[in-house]
């Protein structure tokens, strides 16, 4: 990419468009930042970064993550304050920085038209919007992948030192942001290996050196984590994914998080993909090898995560957020190969579908990923008394619950977990249900049980309660977040 091309990419018209898109992005984010309850993952982030840096390393090291985001959030929260709103602003800030780079990436891969069209989809995407406003590391993961891709393309096109430096720095930051960044890098490597003939010959050795640098860079952390040992049961258990989960990921990339009934209709319409494949049979105008790069980044991390999940379940769409961007780029590329009128119709159609999905996701209280810990906490703050007991299961939902809860009622978890003594949540043992419940209910009038994130024993626990106590109330606050009230025999 030479200077004149860069100037073409950054025309005044484009900059005005990008500023407009950034404003739209901020407007979209307001309801997500302010009106959504804290979620489990966010609560864990807030709790983790409230510690010192060394403690953060210890906590994150025992967790399934790498520490860069947590350290950044720690200092961010120190400057602002340790609330969920300020934490979400960090994600939004990173996401907004990503917008011009998304445009730059798609423009470098194809052209500025595709760049701008992709950026519109990017800011409207319900999936991206969700994580652009969540107090987690996913917007950072995406930004670092976008930057790294830009440097990678520059290397393949021109092999400049500055590109290598940028590539190495973003790669190191990326691998300290999320373990799944390695899948992204692996896809880069596979793309290069399968297309090396198309590029300069001396790149291979340099890529090998970069790979060694990255391994050396992550080695201290790996050594640290191995020495720590990991905490057990502090995260929801994942199941091995099915073919439905695989398609669900791509459905989420486009339609966001929708209720089951809508989702089943979307998934049943999978032959639409066949229609798309058939209609991509176009005489390719200036077919680029970077098409393969986009396809690789769209499919390979998802495919690898799917396969690896049979060894250890790790298949979560948010871990694979980078692939969503490449899906958008590819969709836009495809529709720009059609005739102008068809292209306009399809593009408007896609914007409408994505926009409607976004609105539905934001304003529908039954959006599956919504976790309304705020309302349940507020409800119990006013409803429960000091004579009652609140029981949370799975135990780790105590993080989002206690973020809001200001009541006087004692809060317990099932299984009982004394966080001051052990970092690991005790394993469930069905033989100890009655003992533990007896211990929990001791001296209380009502037991308020919040069930969420079933770890495989929720049903058994609830059946026990139903059989032994009188259920006097039940209320669902959000999908998979239900409060039960039991009258205890004093």
């Amino acid at each position: 990419m030479n200077v004149s091309q860069d100037q073409k990419i950054w025309s005044l018209n484009t900059i005005i468009w990008l500023i407009f898109l950034i404003l739209i992005s901020i407007i979209i984010s307001i309801p997500l930042i302010y009106f959504n309850s804290i979620r489990l993952d966010e609560a864990q982030s807030i709790w983790q970064v409230s510690h010192s840096v060394s403690e953060i390393l210890d906590i994150v090291g025992r967790d399934v993550h790498v520490p860069l985001y947590h350290i950044i959030l720690h200092f961010w929260q120190a400057i602002f304050n340790n609330t969920i709103i300020s934490a979400r602003y960090l994600s939004l800030f990173i996401s907004i920085i990503s917008i011009p780079f998304v445009y730059l990436l798609a423009s470098k891969l194809y052209n500025t038209k595709i760049g701008l069209m992709t950026t519109v989809i990017f800011i409207l995407s319900p999936f991206i919007s969700w994580y652009a406003n969540e107090a987690r590391m996913y917007s950072l993961l995406l930004l670092l992948a976008v930057l790294n891709s830009i440097f990678f393309i520059d290397i393949l096109k021109e092999d400049k030192r500055i590109s290598w430096i940028g590539f190495i720095i973003t790669a190191i930051l990326g691998i300290y942001t999320h373990y799944f960044y390695w899948l992204f890098l692996l896809s880069n490597a596979l793309f290069y290996i399968t297309n090396y003939k198309q590029f300069s010959r001396n790149l291979f050795q340099k890529f090998i050196i970069v790979a060694i640098i990255l391994i050396l860079a992550i080695a201290p952390w790996i050594y640290y984590v191995i020495n720590l040992g990991s905490a057990a049961n502090t995260k929801p258990i994942l199941n091995a994914p099915s073919s439905v989960d695989l398609f669900n990921i791509f459905s989420q990339y486009i339609f966001g998080f929708q209720p089951d009934i809508i989702n089943s209709i979307i998934l049943s319409s999978w032959p639409v993909i066949v229609i798309i494949i058939f209609t991509t049979l176009q005489r390719k105008l200036n077919y680029s090898v970077f098409n393969t790069f986009v396809i690789f980044q769209m499919l390979i991390p998802v495919g690898l995560a799917f396969i690896l999940s049979y060894l250890r379940p790790i298949f979560l769409s948010r871990y694979l957020i980078v692939s969503s961007l490449f899906l958008y780029i590819y969709i836009i590329y495809i529709i720009t190969t059609y005739f102008k009128r068809q292209m306009k119709i399809l593009y408007i159609g896609i914007i409408l579908v994505i926009g409607l999905s976004l609105s539905f996701q934001i304003y529908n209280p039954n959006t599956p990923v919504k976790e309304n810990f705020e309302d349940v906490s507020m409800y119990l703050t006013t409803k429960a008394t000091a004579r009652d007991i609140i029981v949370l299961s799975a135990p780790f939902i105590i993080y989002p619950f206690e973020y809001y809860y200001q009541g006087v009622t004692k809060v317990e978890t099932f299984p009982i977990w004394d966080r001051s003594k052990i970092s690991s949540i005790p394993q469930f043992n069905s033989n100890t249900i009655s003992t533990q419940v007896d211990k929990i209910k001791e001296g209380h009038q009502y037991m308020y049980v919040i069930l969420s994130y079933d770890q495989g024993y929720g049903k058994e626990f609830k059946t026990y309660l139903d059989n032994n106590f009188e259920k006097v109330a039940e209320r669902e606050f959000s999908p998979d977040l239900t409060l039960y009230q039991y009258k205890l025999k004093l």
Binding site: W270, P271, K284, V289
Partner: protein, 523 residues
């Protein structure tokens, strides 16, 4: 860095360049096709055995097509022996049967302008036996141009008979066949004759390029289909010595043709069958990867329909009457290639069977397989993607949805041809019209319209009886796909608009005078 095509490339070249797909990719496509087939056949339980049977028959056919395609395009590099100093005397046959005199004239002038030591031009004038009005004008044209004219008075064997008649009245060791509308390049003979230095080469075929491919929807659709055939497929067939004659733009060794008692007159695709006989006698064939003559695609839907029917009928007869599997003179590769080319015309029936499966669901609720939709999708999507990709890759990214749509939407032509072969119906040889027959030919596509109507009725019936279900969306989407495939074909059968588009650097051969350019471009 990027050696793929751009539309600024010459359309005469792009379909012939860069057709060699990676062998790893080809193996990958073959493997995933096999995996998909095994998975569908053995790992998903049937729901309705009749529908399951239909589905599996279709899948067997698709697997056959994919595997034979992969074998065909496995190696598209040529290594034929060539000697540019080999230049024996040649007879040029321009077959004529009532085409407009201007078209014949331009072909004849271009033939005269060919650069070669010694050749004799003959207009094989079949206008008299074909009862065309202009047969006398053809004779006069020959006289005016100072070339020979052979006018048949006794009809037999259509085009093949015309050529055989000429062979009796000429004597050169080699002869060239041009259809009346196929204008040769000046270097046609220079670039073809050198291959006959190999005394076992029986014929040399060059690509059949449609210079009017941008004229309207019919010419465009016809060319999109041809590109794949004259690109990767013929190049691959060349490697296995199994390219067949395509009726025009070809040079033949008299001895090879006489060894099979002349051009075959018993089949309406005489070139295809004659090639089979020539190969079975041990003669070799050569395909030249360069456009050396330019012709005209059928310009209206009726002409296209008749042309496709003739090719389908002739090819299917090969399967049912001259099955290459039982021809001892052919090598295994040649048997496979002839069978795969001929069996292409069975695809219409298969497409129809596949099309009706979602309709059956709408009216009866029956499906071929017990519902494992997402698992099937998991295997089917990479399978279909890779199959489409390999078509794209091996055609240098020239194969388009339009070509696919024309091929698949010709299902009724294929079925009619199959019925004609099985029932032994007589079909005369009809020459593809070289001028546009204007009109509305939508009636020829009544099966397509019927399908759309039944689909609409079926969806209404399902909605009123069952309501909105996920299965409705799945089957509805298949129906939408089928209808989308039909749309370019239906559009082409409506009264045509001329596109008046000429690709920037697409210039006709120098020999083509302005009158022909006007005829083919400005209409």
């Amino acid at each position: 860095m990027n050696n793929y095509i751009s539309m600024n490339d010459n359309p005469r070249k792009i379909f012939l360049q860069n057709t060699q797909a990676s062998k790893i990719l080809l193996i990958g496509v073959a493997l995933i096709s096999l995996i998909y087939f095994i998975f569908i056949t053995f790992f998903i339980a049937p729901s309705n055995y009749w529908l399951y049977g239909i589905l599996i028959v279709g899948e067997i056919f698709h697997l056959w097509q994919i595997i034979t395609y992969i074998i065909t395009v496995w190696d598209t590099q040529s290594n034929n022996i060539y000697d540019e100093n080999f230049s024996p005397e040649v007879d040029i046959f321009i077959t004529v049967a009532g085409e407009p005199i201007e078209i014949i004239k331009e072909t004849a002038i271009a033939a005269k302008n060919m650069v070669y030591p010694k050749f004799n031009i003959y207009l094989l004038n079949d206008g008299f036996v074909a009862k065309k009005d202009n047969w006398r004008e053809v004779k006069k044209l020959a006289k005016d141009l100072g070339i020979n004219c052979i006018t048949r008075k006794i009809p037999h064997g259509a085009k093949a008979g015309n050529i055989n008649n000429a062979l009796q009245q000429t004597k050169s060791e080699f002869f060239v066949v041009f259809d009346a509308d196929h204008v040769p390049a000046r270097e046609f003979l220079q670039k073809t004759m050198g291959y006959f230095i190999d005394s076992k080469v029986g014929f040399v075929q060059t690509p059949q390029y449609y210079k009017n491919h941008n004229q309207n929807l019919v010419t465009e659709g016809a060319w999109r289909q041809q590109e794949l055939f004259f690109g990767a497929i013929c190049k691959g067939k060349n490697k296995t010595n199994s390219v067949f004659m395509c009726g025009t733009n070809m040079v033949l060794r008299r001895e090879a043709i006489m060894a099979v008692e002349g051009m075959c007159e018993t089949n309406i695709a005489e070139d295809f069958l004659t090639s089979l006989f020539v190969h079975s006698k041990g003669w070799k064939s050569v395909y030249i990867q360069e456009v050396l003559a330019e012709g005209l695609a059928p310009e209206d839907f009726m002409s296209y329909y008749k042309q496709q029917f003739r090719w389908a009928r002739g090819s299917l007869e090969i399967i049912f009457k001259y099955n290459p599997l039982f021809n001892r003179g052919l090598s295994f590769s040649q048997k496979l290639q002839y069978l795969s080319s001929a069996s292409y015309y069975l695809s219409g029936g298969i497409f129809l069977l596949n099309m009706i499966l979602p309709l059956i669901f709408l009216f009866t609720g029956n499906v071929p397989l017990i519902n494992s939709s997402m698992i099937i999708a998991l295997v089917f999507i990479p399978y279909i993607y890779l199959v489409m990709y390999i078509l794209q890759r091996s055609s240098n990214f020239t194969y388009s949805f339009k070509g696919l749509a024309f091929s698949m939407s010709s299902f009724m032509i294929h079925i009619q041809a199959l019925i004609a072969v099985l029932t032994g119906q007589k079909n005369g040889f009809s020459i593809t019209s070289k001028t546009q027959v204007s009109g509305n030919f939508i009636h020829l596509n009544w099966p397509h319209i019927l399908y759309i109507l039944i689909s609409l009725i079926g969806i209404t019936y399902y909605l009123s009886n069952i309501g909105v279900t996920a299965s409705l969306f799945a089957n509805g989407t298949w129906i939408v796909l089928n209808i989308m495939i039909m749309i370019p074909f239906l559009q082409a059968s409506l009264p045509l608009k001329q596109k008046n588009i000429l690709i920037e650097n697409e210039k006709s051969f120098e020999a083509v005078p302005a009158v022909v350019s006007k005829l083919t471009i400005d209409q």
